[in-house]
Symmetry: C2
Subunit: 138 residues, 2 copies
Amino acid sequence: MNKKEHLFITFEKLLRVKSECSSSIFSECGLSDITIKQMGYLKAIDECEEVTFSRLAEITRNSKPTITEMVNKFVKMECVYRERSTLDGRIFYIRLTEKGQTIARLERNSLLRLIERMTGSLDEKDMDTLVRILQKVK
Amino acid sequence: MNKKEHLFITFEKLLRVKSECSSSIFSECGLSDITIKQMGYLKAIDECEEVTFSRLAEITRNSKPTITEMVNKFVKMECVYRERSTLDGRIFYIRLTEKGQTIARLERNSLLRLIERMTGSLDEKDMDTLVRILQKVK
DNA sequence: AGCAGTTAGTTAGTCATTGCCTAATTATAA
DNA sequence: TTATAATTAGGCAATGACTAACTAACTGCT
């Protein structure tokens, strides 16, 4: 087996672990049936500091009623909640619950779990070596 | 910054590259709007040597008409084609086109592209070291 | 202070697509 | 002739989108 194949198999194993971590996160949140679109919306909400219905409609290029329905669905899923502005009673901010944020940051969270797993099996020197080598990749 | 954070950032960069490779593959195939379910069916077809409509209905726990519709959709998307059995004219095998197989094996293909990128920046010794260290991860 | 106009979000009603089903049909084999 | 493989017809729920009309709340002007 050549070096590329070795590398492929090694990374495949790591990615399988990460993918299992993603699945665990979804099922821990009871959201295994979430759609690609819904993931996209949660990420869009997470990327904003404070986001109103109108603003999210702008960002995602949807109508306001679409956002209302989407938010209602997310509220039922316990991913987001509304917070009324104290300055202007017409305005509601869309906020992620802890669960919503966990899912919005799924990539990050599953990678964190993988890194935990790695650091459990590697010593300090190995980690330094890994970082040193992988940083060369352009 | 501690070693875990370093490792996180390093892997995040690699995974971003891989994710860009996945997106490129989808758009090269003109299939950026494929759904999670459809991906699952393509993988199921790919995992079988030879699969008929009835067999795929069994495997995926769906009715036969569901498979017919799904296959018709995939035929329009140029992901699969029918091949009539020479032994029994009632039987059709569901076969992946090249495009269908590329998508069914997306994980593999995007990882292959990432590995290509890595091997372009690393020397033989680095690759050996990577494999040696990463194989320790349980 | 009070009304008119503007703005934020919601409701009602519609629509296309996906993904699934059962029942009936057609074509082929045994 | 009967059984089997796949298809057609017709239906249904959920997702994800829209426009038009509405309600609630703020803003500005007299």
